[in-house]
């Protein structure tokens, strides 16, 4: 990136990166390597968080915070567990047809909370496995084994089954009732899911699946910005943690003379603009205080305190400009927009951190805070830390500064194949990197 940063910005980002990576180093289980959804006692494993862990370990190695052999050990533990897991699809299995239940028991690694077999969370998990596959390219037996396992896990996912005989990929499945029908239409976080599902050499989705999904896109002019509309900020960030969308375009983006990276920059601008307008007059909102996205919320706290007058949500996808907006913001949302709009994102990161120190207890972002809810003299702040938030913070800071994850995934043949099958052309995708090392610091 070419953005000029002040020295204190580098120090700030270093600290945020270190603490975010630390979540995975600190919270991963020693036996199966799995990582909990959040740091609260009794939290289940989230397979998406495990995907972030697999992606963040290379970052930790690159910065010298984890020995390479230790990272390989941790990664292998996860991949071996997944490979040997119960894939029968029974109500207490770990997965089915290569997909995984969203939440797992930390000890047994089996399904908990009657959670769904989650297609997009499996995609984030397997994106992490492929990141590790690309990074750990050493000749040792362990690293070779790691690559084979990651490859096998990816290949065994039956993406086509997840289309349920239709065009688009279903959001989830449960053994008790089959596929879930949540009306997953419009632009959303599934971009990386479709790329991986198209790139599979074993069970790719039908070619028309991607077109069917993008057919639900809406290109909107809002607050003076033309962009592919989606309300919650995370939708514009998560797929970008792995895939470098700069300069590559599918048919939709060619039509709009844009790309998904630029689109996320505009979405960030729209978030900021919404906070400036602050139509619901929420406390604290402003040009440097924004971040309406999927995060924890004060719903239970407000109920317990008997706070009335408006509805508060728990963990929910908040968005702009039509909400839901209960005054809850995710400070990490600005960090995750660093690569797209570094100037306004950095200003927001600094300002929010200075004004609301509570949201980064011990240097690690809490999931959310709400300046409009007084909690013993401080804004309400989500307890503990969530793995998804730490993962996106770590990956986006790293991509912003070194492009490490992007370079790894640019070299991944499955990602390249998936992008091509989705109709992406141009930019780095046109260049041949087959023989090239990703050029990363090891």
């Amino acid at each position: 990136m070419t953005t000029v940063r002040a020295p204190d910005d580098d120090a700030l980002l270093d600290a945020l990166l270190h603490d975010a990576v630390g979540y995975f180093i600190d919270c991963a289980r020693a036996d199966n390597g799995l990582v909990p959804d959040n740091s609260r006692p009794g939290a289940p494993i989230s397979i998406a968080v495990v995907g972030f862990a697999l992606s963040v370990y290379p970052v930790a190695v690159a910065h010298g915070w984890l020995r390479r052999t230790e990272a390989v050990t941790r990664t292998l533990a996860i991949l071996r567990f997944l490979a040997a897991s119960d894939q029968s699809g029974s109500p207490d299995a770990t997965g089915y047809r290569g997909f995984y239940y969203h939440f797992l028991d930390p000890d047994s690694g089996r399904r908990v909370w009657r959670s769904e077999l989650s297609m997009v969370d499996t995609a984030l998990l397997i994106a992490g496995a492929l990141t590790a596959r690309q990074y750990f390219d050493g000749a040792t037996a362990d690293e070779a084994s790691l690559r084979e396992l990651a490859d096998a896990l990816y290949r065994r996912i039956d993406w086509r089954w997840a289309q349920n005989g239709g065009s688009t990929i279903m959001q989830g499945w449960k053994p008790e009732c089959g596929f879930l029908h949540y009306g997953w239409e419009g632009y959303n976080e599934a971009l990386v899911l479709y790329v991986l599902a198209l790139g599979s050499p074993a069970h790719p989705i039908h070619a028309g699946g991607y077109g069917a999904w993008t057919a639900t896109y809406q290109w909107e002019n809002l607050y003076g910005h033309d962009f592919l509309y989606a309300g919650p900020l995370f939708i514009h960030q998560f797929s970008h943690a792995w895939i470098d969308f700069r300069g590559i375009r599918d048919a939709f983006m060619r039509e709009k003379r844009c790309d998904y990276f630029e689109n996320s920059r505009r979405a960030t601008e729209v978030q900021r603009e919404y906070a400036l307008r602050n139509p619901l007059e929420r406390a604290g909102y402003g040009g440097n205080v924004w971040g309406l996205t999927a995060c924890d919320g004060p719903g239970d706290f407000a109920n317990a305190r008997g706070i009335t007058g408006r509805r508060f949500f728990g963990y929910a996808a908040r968005g702009v400009p039509f909400g839901p907006d209960d005054g809850t913001l995710a400070g990490w949302g600005a960090v995750a927009s660093l690569p797209f709009a570094p100037e306004i994102a950095l200003a927001a990161v600094r300002d929010m951190r200075d004004r609301y120190r509570e949201m980064v207890p011990g240097g690690r972002y809490s999931s959310a805070f709400n300046p409009g809810i007084d909690c013993d003299g401080h804004p309400w702040t989500s307890a503990g830390a969530f793995g998804l938030d730490q993962g996106i913070v770590a990956m986006m800071i790293e991509n912003h500064r070194s492009e490490l994850i992007w370079r790894l995934m640019r070299s991944c043949p499955y990602v390249r194949a998936g992008l091509r099958r989705a109709g992406f052309r141009g930019g780095w995708l046109q260049r041949d990197t087959r023989a090239r090392s990703p050029g990363i610091r090891r």
Binding site: E176, E185, Q218, W219, N221
Partner: protein, 495 residues
Amino acid sequence: MPDRFVEPEAEAQRLANVHSSGWRNPAPVGCYDLVVIGGGPAGLVAASDAAGLGARVALVERKALGGTCLNVGCIPSKSLIRTARLYGDWHFASRYGGRSPGDVTVDFAALMARMRRIRNRISRGDSAERLRDAGIDVFYGSAAFAGPDSIDVPDARLNFRRALVATGARPDTAPIPGLADAGFMTNETVFDLDTLPKRLLVIGGGPLGCELAQAFGRFGAQTTIAQDAPLFLPKEERDAAQLLSESLSRDGIEVRLNTTVVNVRVEEGEKRVDLVSDDYRSTLAVDAILAGTGRVPSVAGLNLEAAGVAYDAVGGVVTDDFLRTTNRRVYAAGDVCLEHRYTHTADASARIAVRNALAGGRARLSALTIPWCTYTDPEIAHVGLYVREARARAIPVRTFTIPMHDVDRAITDGEDRGFVKIHIREGSDRILGATIVARHAGEMINEITLAMVAGIGLRTLAKVIHAYPTQADAIREAAVAYERTLPAARARKLR
């Protein structure tokens, strides 16, 4: 309360206007230029238009003139919605800097009496006497085709040169085990209520289900609405459906999306309803159930086979784009044959059918630009194409979105949750469609409809001065947003 004293008289007057009591069917003339089956909006418009052209016209109505709209549809529901809006405003008085009178009690009998009074007032325009005075022979009773050019009515056979089937639609109730035994209301019976149910379940999240759920919730019924799809109003813009969900929740209505009613039973004097959402089962106890908010065409008993008129149970009477059926002498209009089952489409289709049937016209149904509105609070109105429809036709679309929170009048009115979204063809200013979510979206959408019918693009709309402050100014703002994206505007900005 004077309303209550007026009510029996009002209802009797309405029945006298639109029902058959005391009416004597005339003796048929030899051969009618047009026989219309059905005295709802399509049938009434068709009969009047045809009579206006000098045609000999007969109209056959089975039950009540005015059809669903007048008797059990738009008119009674909008009357209740107006009262519900009043209670809603009282409930949220503090939002407007007001203070609601301490104990707002709902007088259900009074609001129902008002509805019946309004229904009677409007029914005067649809009375059999008025039709007779316009030269139309009105026959009450069931109609059935006797052949390709004749229709049997009680004690008579009507011969025709042309006929129009305009029998409308009827409530469609999903076959839920136990529902019929437990008892339920439809739109045909809900307006007969004389006491407010304490606990109400509305099955179905289509327009009528959402409208009535919100109204009854605002009247104080503990209301649950169960919808088996992920969002209400499945055909509508996703943001519109989500704003509606939030609005219903704010009104205290329990929203159950992705939820299917699988069984109903009566135990201990209450209706117990089993619900399934994915793999979660629950039971809800209620006092009343409103179902059948979907509609299916009324084709039963018409003996369409005798006339060679093709139909099916779901789509109704099959017509071509000129509204002619598979019998060249027989046309159809309104809910019995249309995808869009609204009073205004019934009206418009009836005019097309009459012109084509009697005046040799070649007017096409597909040429109509049809707006519609769901009268919840906020209202949800749409016209033209949705983005997904345009994209399915490979039309590049660009949408100009103005949130109502950017519209001064919406802010002053405390009605700033919603939006205007206008879809245009990329590279032009041609309007393809629009969705409006606003308190008066039904009024606002007409401007867009006019622009579409007249071929007026966004550039011209940007030049139309709108009275300030009005909520419809959002439409001008969208047009101005478009204008700002034009290269010339950018160049000016740079200078």
